[in-house]
């Protein structure tokens, strides 16, 4: 059916066809470029440590381990089990340090303080230190993300 004096001319139709198609083509080329430029860095799901390195820890003692590229904190509880935390301040991602005399974690960047359980007690940090699960399996000490469950 021919429409006389249409506002949407043939030229506009052709232009929009080409433009729309070009847009589709561009999108499928931009996607791999974006994927390349923004690759995801994943934290490890679990880290295997040698238990012998930590078995001599006294209750209340704190040691570090490598959680991917972040510092991990292992603390021996009074009953001999391990508490594991990610030693990264929840305020702006600085690494925290353990002050054994005051039994607290201290973040030097903005003076944030966490108690020995990792709970934020003073300063800007909004949340406690992130917890991880630690379990001893034979000769190995596994540290996992909470909820990951023990793997066989």
């Amino acid at each position: 059916m021919r429409i006389d004096n249409a506002y949407f001319t043939r030229r506009k139709f052709l232009n929009s066809l080409l433009g729309g198609w070009l847009g589709a083509v561009a999108a499928t080329f931009i996607t791999p470029i974006v994927k390349f430029v923004w690759p995801p860095y994943k934290e490890p799901d679990e880290v295997k440590l040698v238990f012998a390195d930590f078995s001599g820890m006294k209750p209340g003692e704190v040691k570090n381990f490598a959680w991917g590229v972040k510092p991990g904190i292992l603390k021996r509880a009074a009953d001999g089990s391990f508490i594991a935390m990610v030693g990264v301040c929840t305020h702006l991602d600085c690494n925290v340090t353990w002050q054994p005399d005051k039994k607290q974690f201290f973040c030097a960047c903005h003076e944030g303080y966490y108690d020995e359980e990792g709970k934020n007690v003073a300063g800007p940090p909004p949340k406690p230190l992130r917890r991880l699960e630690a379990s001893v399996e034979g000769e190995d000490l596994f540290v996992r993300k909470p909820g990951a469950g023990a793997k066989a």
Binding site: M1, T9, R11, L14, N15, L17, L18, G20, W21, L22, A24, V25, A27, T28, T31, P32, K35, K42, E43, P44, D45, E46, V47, K48, L49, V50, D53, F54, K63, N64, F65, A66, W67, G68, V69, K70, P71, G72, L74, G87, N95, V96, T97, W98
Partner: protein, 141 residues
Amino acid sequence: MRAPRILFWLVTAALVLGPLAAAAQQAGTPPEAKDKAQVEAAAAPAAPAQEAKPAPAPPAAKKPAPKAEVKRTEPIVPAYTGIKEKTAVIVFFVWLWFAIGVLIYFLRQWIKESDRIYWAKYYEPEESPRKDNPMAPTLGD
């Protein structure tokens, strides 16, 4: 006519979603490195269980003892990790040429139109053969 417009949108939708689906399938499976003699972990994007040594009091995790400088002696040849990746590349290749074909089709139409306009001196009404025609369309169409 309505039919070509519907057809156009259907085809465009299929051709946009198709390669996106193929790309999603292919996500993160790069070609394998064949025959690498190296101490470091192989290049899998999944997180392997790592051997980590404990560090003394400083909060920053200290790297383990410096790794032995073992040089790679075998070449890395790009190869497909599986049939999925190979299929994704073939799909991309076919879609690439189809998209180019469609674009060239549209461009040829556009070239013909712009040539026609040029030869008909559309933008120079004084020199155009339609200069005496009061019904001739003007600029601003």
